[in-house]
């Protein structure tokens, strides 16, 4: 996917749970745009039976959904082609992180939106903080739910605007008990699980901090030539990037690698650092590895590339030495390694990989990333209703 900014402008209404009012606020803005004479359509809207929200669609043109046959069921998805033909100035697309049913042109709704943006159509959309890829493990840790539908961080970074739709957890819980958000039965279940007040408070804080971060990265770049800030205006964090960080992530077949990649990328984004990921193999192209390991490594490298991390497979007999040599050659300042699995703690007189790397990487920082897995509530959810 090219990194050049798309032609259309994307605005994301960011919330932290179902029912905070993202869709409502998005539709309000669509209505205001229509009043201003802008050509607006609704590309996708999920009514969830909420009366106030449905009322807000009144008078807005709805592009019919596409019906897709899958395993004997009929599914409805946004019809990106129809929207392209209609070519409005502004299109409203609910539930940005949605995964399309198999048989659709694209896997994800955010990819459909990308197509609309590339065609010069502005898009308003909604999502919850839970769906941001780099927070996936933290969300799992906090809620016990592994969210499957994620938005890569770079997609959010490309958005022209991110606006936080805020509602206090108490007000949200009131809405739930009054049955505004879900039907009563579903509400009771939601209250038991996901909608615990302390969980909501943490999610809300994450959303506030993320929005602040999104605001910050859109501000004028102080490091850019020609920018002359007022004296006393910069703080230390804004020093030009002479000691810029470069982060290198070691990819292995271990499942913890996915967690490591997300964390490394998040730290890199916050530090405005470059980020690479490498795997080390004795033979070129991983040929020496068992098929399963090779598959896992390919999978992890692919995952890293999807997050816009540059990847490489290095050839070398000694993993630690090969990694550190590559790091030295490429001006890496910071290595990211996964925690050793319990079985890999050093046997007598043998050093662990972590130890070896720490010993070799004398002028680099080495981070051993936490295991943010949630042990209390091992469960998997689609996360669609969050």
């Amino acid at each position: 996917m090219p990194d050049r900014p798309p032609l259309g402008k994307l605005k994301i209404f960011l919330g932290y749970a179902a029912g905070v009012g993202k869709t409502y606020q998005m539709l309000e803005e669509a209505q205001a745009a229509k009043r201003d004479g802008i050509d607006v359509v609704i590309g996708y809207f999920e009514p969830h039976g909420r009366k106030d929200t449905i009322a807000k669609t009144e008078g807005l043109e709805l592009v019919p959904r596409r019906k897709i046959d899958y395993r004997g069921g009929l599914f409805e998805e946004m019809d990106a082609d129809a929207i392209l033909r209609r070519h409005p100035e502004l299109c409203v697309v609910d539930e940005f992180p949605h995964t399309n049913v198999p048989g659709s042109d694209r896997l994800k709704r955010w990819q459909d939106v990308q197509v609309l943006l590339d065609a010069g159509i502005d898009v308003l959309t909604t999502m919850n903080i839970q769906h941001l890829e780099s927070l996936n493990d933290q969300i799992w840790n906090i809620t016990g739910i592994r969210v499957r539908e994620t938005i890569p961080d770079w997609v959010m970074q490309q958005a022209d605007q991110v606006v936080m739709v805020d509602l206090t957890p108490r007000a949200l819980l009131n809405r739930l008990t009054r049955g505004v958000v879900y039907s009563r039965e579903k509400a009771e279940k939601a209250l038991e699980n996901f909608f615990q007040e302390s969980t909501l408070v943490v999610l809300r804080e994450l959303a506030l901090r993320q929005t602040a971060h999104e605001v910050e990265i859109r501000q004028v770049d102080y490091d850019a030539p020609g920018f002359d800030p007022e004296p006393g205006y910069r703080d230390e964090a804004d020093q030009p990037s002479e000691n810029a960080d470069r982060i290198l992530i070691l990819v292995t077949p271990e499942p913890a690698t996915a967690m490591l990649i997300r964390r490394g990328k998040r730290v890199a984004d916050y530090l405005h650092a470059d980020c690479f990921a490498v795997a080390v193999s004795r033979e070129i192209d991983l040929h020496d590895m068992p098929a399963r390991d090779r598959e896992m490594i390919e999978h992890h490298l692919n995952f890293a590339r999807n997050l816009h991390i540059e990847t490489r497979v290095l050839q070398g007999q000694d993993v630690a030495r090969t990694l550190v040599e590559f790091a030295h050659l490429n001006g890496v300042t910071h290595l990211f390694l996964a925690r050793p699995q319990p079985s890999q703690w050093p046997a007598l007189s043998r050093r662990s990989l972590v130890q070896q790397v720490v010993h070799l990487a004398r002028d680099m920082q080495v981070t051993i990333a936490a295991d943010r897995a949630n042990r209390q509530q091992p469960q998997v959810g689609s996360g669609a209703g969050l």
Binding site: T168, A171, S198, V202, A212, E236, R339, I368, A369
Partner: protein, 362 residues
């Protein structure tokens, strides 16, 4: 949820009961926080009042700013308004009249307003405090430029000097705080006044960031209070908390500098900890003082910890305080026996589990 119930002392339990009783008696405070005029704080506040009133709550308007929009007028017409008093030509909220009327909810716009000399309270937020004490819940709105500890930062951005303030502690005491977020161009469009000068959008965007982070901090305090009230130890959080571990001989400067940079970038929290060693030489004591001075200069919180085993002590502190990243120095000189017992670093990594460990070479 990864949380643990702590056993509490009788004093703590008493304190908790007292806190709960006070909490029950007092009115609830809800604050709509905005970063500029024109974001729609007043409207959100009044609209919430209208919805509550429609649901049968006894709501009155205690104070509204003089300049209103047609939108605001429309909502106001549906609510009971207690008129402002005029004192020497200045409009003041009529706190006595509100207390007498004693609604269950009172809407108070412009929390930061000063009262004229001779009033019972110098500032409107103190009037609000009195309403809360009387068991009246208050919904109010305020612009971040009036929060006392943000005033200087906001002034640097806007160049405008404000004299009225609301203490941060009052804001922290709010039961609910809502950020009214909107992209800068909306404020410029509505307000009109921001059009002057260079880069109004840039300024507004900085104010917006300050407001979002303030709300996040207040929310964080509320979470702490909530967990404390319910006797739950905090083991997760939304905020990055960095713990830099130092010893007398540690090369502390780069670790603390990096900790500071990371904390700033993540808008997180920085603590520098030292585990007290029983007997240290005068040279080491001096070196330690130097390292602690570096920590103070970086405005880190400093913790001197006591414990038999430094690694255990640091890990316990980190887990108790929701630390997300531990920074440690590592000497490349290894003792021969550590090949067999594992180095302190191994033990730290093994025990850290759900905390990142960042190792700095020495």
């Amino acid at each position: 949820m990864p949380s643990a119930i702590r056993r509490r002392s009788p004093e703590e339990l008493l304190e908790q009961i007292q806190a709960e009783e006070d909490y029950e008696r007092r009115g609830r405070l809800k604050v709509f926080l905005g970063y500029a005029s024109g974001v729609g704080k007043s409207f959100r506040m009044l609209d919430e009042g209208r919805r509550r009133s429609e649901r049968g709550q006894d709501v009155v308007v205690g104070a509204i700013q003089p300049k209103t929009t047609p939108e605001i007028e429309a909502v106001l017409s549906k609510l009971e308004v207690i008129p402002l008093r005029q004192v020497d030509g200045v409009y003041v909220m009529d706190t006595a009249a509100i207390l007498k009327r004693h609604p269950s909810v009172c809407l108070v716009d412009g929390l930061a307003y000063d009262n004229p000399p001779g009033s019972a309270h110098a500032s409107r937020w103190e009037d609000v405090n009195e309403l809360l004490d009387a068991g009246i819940s208050v919904i109010t709105s305020v612009n971040i430029q009036y929060i006392d500890d943000l005033r200087e930062r906001v002034q640097r951005v806007t160049g405008k000097i404000v004299t009225q303030t609301v203490p941060r502690s009052f804001l922290n005491s709010a039961d609910e705080i809502v950020i009214v977020d909107a992209p800068p161009e909306m404020c410029i469009a509505k307000d009109g006044q921001a059009g002057a000068g260079s880069g109004p959008e840039q300024k507004l965007s900085e104010l917006r960031e300050i407001a979002l982070l303030l709300a996040a901090d207040v929310v964080d305090k509320q979470l702490e209070a909530y967990l404390h009230r319910n006797g739950i130890a905090q083991t997760f959080g939304a905020q990055e908390r960095i713990l830099v571990c130092i010893t007398p001989r540690a090369n502390a400067a780069p670790m603390i500098a990096s900790g500071k940079r990371n904390a700033d970038r993540f808008h997180g929290d920085l603590t520098v900890a030292y585990v007290r060693q029983a007997e240290i030489s005068a040279t080491d004591q001096e070196a330690l003082e130097r390292n602690l001075a570096i920590a103070r200069a970086a405005q880190a919180r400093i913790e001197i910890l006591d414990g038999q085993d430094p690694i255990e002590t640091l890990l316990k502190f980190a887990h108790d305080h929701g630390v997300t990243q531990i920074f440690v120095g590592h000497s490349t000189r290894e003792q021969w026996w550590e090949r067999f017992t594992g180095t302190p670093l191994d033990r730290l990594i093994r025990g850290a589990n759900d905390i990142d460990v960042r190792v700095f070479p020495h």
